[in-house]
Symmetry: C2
């Protein structure tokens, strides 16, 4: 069944018409219905076709979010939260129309509590904004999904990225959220205490709910001291399997590696093209260690010994900031580097995550599948967590290629699920993976539906996401 | 209003009678209704009066849990999961009667995946059982609440303990649970992937739900490599404030301390009495470092420098296992040591958690409150997280003392909440703290109630816990 059909949400045209009038009057120029702006708010960085909202509310406070939600709730009109539009599975689309709530105006850093290693920010603050603000405090917020996403959006998709292996994901780093629920009420899910056993963990329920249970308006985040020393480097391997075995050994030895990224042969080729890295065309690990001067040296040396055992190396590492920066810039440019393999193409970025013991096998089978499918698709992975991305470079105007890509992604998801893994490690379900969620979690999805029904009985909070319309 | 009144749950005598007959026939000797066994299953290690279930089902499989829940659901009879009975806030009481499901028969270790650093165990396995089983693997499960609790129970109360500052709490260390829901269905909340963005975080919802949303029958846990080296020691301080300042500096410097425990002056006195420690009678920090040989030495030395800055010391540390074991045995015996301060008394163990910047102030005010109330109540704390325990030693037969204790605990909870903290860091809400939950989280409790209503519409899953009957 086609994606559009799976995700269909009935339009409530009468309600939408009412709401458009009320919001125009209420917000004036801060409510926009022009097609360009609406299209921009349904923009996805992946292949999923845009489904435009009927209007975009540029809110400036949590109270305004409450107002908009109350108005929409009264008329049973969908609300779709929008941060920076960098989600990858159609999370900002409006399959039943409705109002996109643009949260970029909620950009205040409310407080930084250096002694407690936490801060409270409005949902529209981006991770780079926050780290710029923190520059002089000796603290930083580590979660880095690549894009300069909003922190509310990162929480909503349970984002992570390159250094989750050490610092965890948004799940681990959000202490509390304030969110507007489907009735327009505002709740705060937890206090600033580092740990709590007080009732249901609503924080973790809102993190990853993709705006389907509430709209996050502010959040309290953990911060970390900037490490005294950072070292990092690259290491070639004869095969993906050898690289994965080295990762397993590194994690098992308890080396607190901060980043450990696999770049497969095709990705290395693309990075060589794009960033002139001059690496041998073989799988590589990019690694980084955080700690004291003594600690990072020890970690790097131990890692060098481990990789040698698995036929990898030489492991070249450095503590010089500029050299490290060049390397990680190249790694972060993997998306653009990948695109350069096939100029003019469109990229589908998909991700799965498996237990690390199955990672080599999963990537190996996936590389064979890519070859057999005739696709061009480099792989990079946050392999310390068993998470990897495939960037399928495709021509969206060639139906056969689109079909081959969709079939490949379906096999990839089912392969990961078959290996006791998940169909998404960090991109979320959105529209793109809704049909795979029941295949992964079975009846547990009924429990999710019951929660959704209990908290949003009229299905106005980002409808058509996470849950497939058709039980599969 | 008295606790019993707040927690009243209407009895369904007709349903209970039916269920007693069916379960006796179904389970034979594994269903018990004798008073001694029922009393044992309503036993609490704190002062809350026992409320006995009507029968105890000694189940031996997840399928039997499903059977019992289905039978009870059909007759709208409460089910109360029971692990080891070491919870502290009345979690195993049966205020409306019903069936206690004793999970100690679910004691199989299903799998250990050394490469993935995880294992799957049945809910009745205790943490010591698991660590004994893991002995030869080089791996361990770090969460240690003191008691040898069942892992299902630890998940249900979101337990933590001395080394949460490094390894996190049950929230962070449960990858997935399999649970029987109110309709007798069994769901598995997640795969073995280390991270996932696939739908609502039902794992974290079940962790800390105290059996009110489902009965955990098995769970997948993170494991860790046993550190190459461990060092630890004790350090005296001139005041609680100085000790707390040293803790803040330690955490801020990013020293990956594995345990950092405050023992206040009265607690030191009790440990000296009970465990013959011979420490000076002043506040102490007990600390432990995990890492490489070089790492733990560096951590201990840096810590020694920090404590000196705050007037603490001398910091005496050792890597000798026997000496460390003696120290931590004494710390773990703090409950019994405390009891020895007032032989024949009953102990009320309560816990709160505040942002670490408020910890010194909170403990200081609490010590003053204890003195002003004429109570005997030593304090120990997992201070790296801002969490501390007060052990009130009281005569339960003296109504004035009971009243003074309850009033003190109420002030303690409100003090922590007033400092942006929580009324429970690791014991859970149960019955004892239900009236404080709305004071801490306001309207968010309505969202919890909506979830409870959605997943357990007839309120049979451990009723009378978490939610106060009377809105406060």
């Amino acid at each position: 069944m086609a994606l559009a059909e799976l995700q269909a949400v009935a339009r409530n045209d009468a309600g939408i018409l009412m709401v458009l009038g009320i919001l125009k009057q209420r917000l004036g120029e801060r409510f926009q219905t022009g097609e360009a702006i609406r299209a921009q708010h349904a923009h996805t960085t992946t292949y999923i076709p845009a489904q435009l909202p009927d209007g975009v509310a540029f809110v400036q406070s949590a109270a305004e979010v409450q107002d908009v939600v109350r108005i929409c709730a009264a008329h049973r009109v969908p609300v779709i939260p929008f941060g920076t539009g960098t989600s990858l599975e159609g999370q900002v689309n409006a399959p039943g129309g409705g109002i996109s709530i643009d949260l970029t105006g909620l950009n205040r850093i409310i407080s930084v509590n250096a002694e407690d290693l936490d801060c409270t920010v409005e949902a529209g603050v981006t991770r780079e904004d926050l780290n710029t603000y923190l520059r002089d405090t000796g603290l930083f917020f580590p979660i880095d999904p690549g894009a300069n996403a909003s922190l509310g959006g990162m929480a909503s998709t349970r984002a992570s990225g390159t250094n989750a292996v050490r610092y965890g994901t948004m799940r681990d780093n959000v202490l509390s959220v304030t969110a507007v629920t489907a009735d327009g009420n505002s709740i705060t899910t937890a206090t600033r205490a580092r740990k709590s056993s007080a009732g249901y963990d609503l924080t973790r329920l809102m993190v990853g709910a993709e705006g389907t249970l509430g709209i996050i308006t502010s959040l309290t985040l953990k911060l970390y001291g900037i490490p005294q020393a950072i070292s990092g480097g690259v290491c070639p391997f004869p095969s993906v399997d050898a690289a994965c075995q080295a990762v397993i050994a590194t994690i098992q030895m308890g080396i607190p590696v901060a980043r450990i990224e696999l770049v497969n042969t095709l990705s290395v080729r693309s990075l060589n093209n794009y960033s002139k890295l001059g690496l041998p065309e073989t799988p590589h690990l990019f690694v980084e260690f955080h700690g004291s001067d003594v600690g990072v040296k020890e970690q790097a040396e131990t890692f060098g010994e481990i990789v040698a055992e698995f036929g990898g190396g030489p492991f070249q590492w450095t503590s010089v900031a500029e050299e490290r920066a060049r390397l990680w810039k190249a790694r972060h440019d993997a998306f653009w580097a990948g695109m350069s393999l096939r100029p003019g193409c469109k990229a589908l970025s998909t991700d799965v995550c498996v237990p690390i013991s199955r990672l080599a096998e999963c990537i190996h089978e996936t590389e064979e599948d890519i070859a057999a499918s005739g696709l061009v698709a480099p792989i990079v992975g946050h392999v310390g967590d068993g998470n990897f991305h495939v960037l399928v470079l495709m021509n969206p105007d060639d139906p056969r290629e689109v079909e081959a890509t969709e079939a490949f992604v379906a096999r990839l998801n089912m392969r990961a699920i078959g290996m006791e893994g998940t169909c998404t490690g960090e991109h979320g379900i959105g529209q793109g993976k809704a049909e795979f969620l029941p295949r992964e979690l079975g009846d547990a999805v009924d429990v999710m539906r019951a929660i959704k029904q209990g908290l949003d009985p009229h299905n106005i909070m980002n409808p058509g996401k996470i849950f497939s319309r058709v039980a599969t």
